[in-house]
Symmetry: C2
Subunit: 469 residues, 2 copies
Amino acid sequence: MYPNWLMKRAQLTGERVGLSWASEEWTFAELDVIARDLAGRLVRLGVQRDSRVALLSKSHPDFVFMMHACLHLGCEMVMLNERLTEQELIYQVQDCEADTVLTDDANAERLNTVNKLLFSTIKEAVPAEVEIQREWPVDRVVSIMYTSGTTGFPKGVKQTAENHFSSAIASSLNIGLGARDSWLCMVPLFHISGFSILMRSLIYGAEVRLYPKFDAANASDELIQGNVTHMSVVGVTLARILDELDNRQMAVSPNFRVMLAGGGPVAVSHIERAAAHGINVLQTYGMTETASQTTTLSPEDAADRPGSAGKPLFLYDVKIGAEDEILIKGPHVTAGYIGRFADVQPTEDGYLKTGDIGRIDAEGFLYVLDRRSDLIVSGGENIYPAEIENVLTGHPAVLEAGVCGIRDGKWGEVPAAFVVADTISAEELDAYCRERLASYKVPKRYSFVRELPRNASNKLLRRELKTWN
Amino acid sequence: MYPNWLMKRAQLTGERVGLSWASEEWTFAELDVIARDLAGRLVRLGVQRDSRVALLSKSHPDFVFMMHACLHLGCEMVMLNERLTEQELIYQVQDCEADTVLTDDANAERLNTVNKLLFSTIKEAVPAEVEIQREWPVDRVVSIMYTSGTTGFPKGVKQTAENHFSSAIASSLNIGLGARDSWLCMVPLFHISGFSILMRSLIYGAEVRLYPKFDAANASDELIQGNVTHMSVVGVTLARILDELDNRQMAVSPNFRVMLAGGGPVAVSHIERAAAHGINVLQTYGMTETASQTTTLSPEDAADRPGSAGKPLFLYDVKIGAEDEILIKGPHVTAGYIGRFADVQPTEDGYLKTGDIGRIDAEGFLYVLDRRSDLIVSGGENIYPAEIENVLTGHPAVLEAGVCGIRDGKWGEVPAAFVVADTISAEELDAYCRERLASYKVPKRYSFVRELPRNASNKLLRRELKTWN
């Protein structure tokens, strides 16, 4: 059993700021009051305790308040990605069988479903009397996030209270914990990158310094002014911050302690540029199934080991299995999936089968050689080629399709499609995909080819495709 | 499952200092090598993996090395208090049924038992090949410490890996965690006060700055030089450090962050004097059954709430039960006892029945009004009146005995005995007790009385006795 984290923070460090947004801020005690009030309104509107609710919202304090209200009610929260198309959203809402969908007003039109509650409707309801959940079982499902894999169908990943707690603790045992930590959050709250910041905030008693989205100028302001101590980035956003700092020629505040960089290796030159600005970049290897980080690499180690993802954190074990697959064990590993993949067991002998390919050197440093299912990491979003291929082959004119990532100056990587098709144009395919895929997943290039590269057992060779570009 | 903590620290932060002693120091990697070597020697001498061993030693690096070796072998460690008499030690060694007793050479003569291994013997053995225990089950019993209660018979308290881990984590969520923390240890390693420092060191990757015993001059040197960041004290040792600092009129280094004060409330005047020296005193309420702290009080809160023990840490819950008994819940609470008390269940509905009396105010601050079984806290040692009374009434001339604590300038409290007896002198009783009780438990005063204060059901009223002094 855990105590209700927000309730406990309100009792222990109620006067500390838990959330800030531009010039507004809320203490943990205030967040608790707001969440209790909203919990009462949700109950008034028919939301059941311990039920499963889906949430669709842009990053905003209201989104945070709604999540805290859901946590107080013991609800399982399905975190919907606001960049998805309606078709993609409907798949997830149906698969998870959410009793209710809570959505901010801006996203209200994006999803037509009967069981929808708008944030404005919730805020206008009269609060019902409600007992908040004072204790959380360790295996309580706190959040569910969809991620695709080799099948191309998004799977809803369960993240328990223990997953989030042990993730926060393992991270603190690596990077330390200050009494006045503040985490700059410019990554989506519906992703594990942003959601884990919210969880750490509750567990550590730290501030979430929230922004609607990534912005290099705002980030640089925060780093220079010394309001924040931590930030999560991916390679491309780090590069944009470094460019901004180069232009300004101003020093980052010594208050700023850790820049956590996910989504694949960061170039050594960037690490060095960051160091010159006084920024300590910790590269990390994490995923939805592990409630954020599994390994991290310190800047001191980065210079000698370009491409390494570091060592597993204190509570975790990583080993290399058959066919060089990376296997992960620890209390942060998901208990499994929901919906149509509920019967799929993600672990074997206690180890999560990541599908990623890697090696571990003699000193214990992990190198991720190839991401699972030829994963494309584009500006922090994970894109699974199989999902795009599924959509493309759904078009009557398309016989076969193969997708791979290609380099992109702004996003790091973007998807490119190779299609074996009857008479159809790239424009037609693009329009077709735009209806069915979030825009970041829509291929940036279509190449019409006579056949796709396949191995003896006819398996598509996406790595081969990359050389065709 | 946890990873083997020392092994993991050697992998992750192998170059950090894990232990220091005067001018010597050992990194975690070095501690791991020493412990593996000693584990091999212990196996050569017949110590079985996963067996129960008792340890008797003064505070010294060799004692730390032996504990690490035992941990590598999966052994349960019974921590013997070197201040006990042979009779007291034999009771514990027999009750715990330890397969082996490991003792430093200085204490070798204090305990005659066949299954004894001297540290010098162990160091001279030829190491056997041995596989260390790479993973620790969360319910693995790491340590066993004897503590008395109302019965007067010491009970062996089990402390699991989860007890120690959650205690370390809950503490870090309160006081933070730095990359270069160093904990000054002048409290006994066989007590939870010292043992918990060793555990935190492994979990945090922090240094244990070890001394053979408390010494106000050495402590002041360390605080002024800024080598250490944390220290554990009790009221009387804090007072002696403050006197020393007053004499020297030198400032404590800003590196020093937290002085953790156990063993009962600290006078507000001491908190203020400490603050004037730049020392942040956190008062804490803890016990063997909770693997150290349950509640702590910050210095800011101390001024307004004299006598409070603070609020329960993040993972814990405290409530007041029947007859105002303090009840404690959390992952740090003991799984129970061994030996003759193996069947005693320490918890009820998940709450540890402490036997202590207390109240909680509207803001959630705990006040400990009366310690269990009229506990006497003397210079950091817990003394149970019933245990001394049992010894006294064992003398043929003694009809009845009652013991209570009386104020003492040096130790805070010391035991005083009230005896209903036939012709016997205080000197004779003193000699009798010295044979059977550790010297700190021997009454400092004997009063011969006609009868003892008892209530209607004939229960001894020790609180009444206090007023007789």
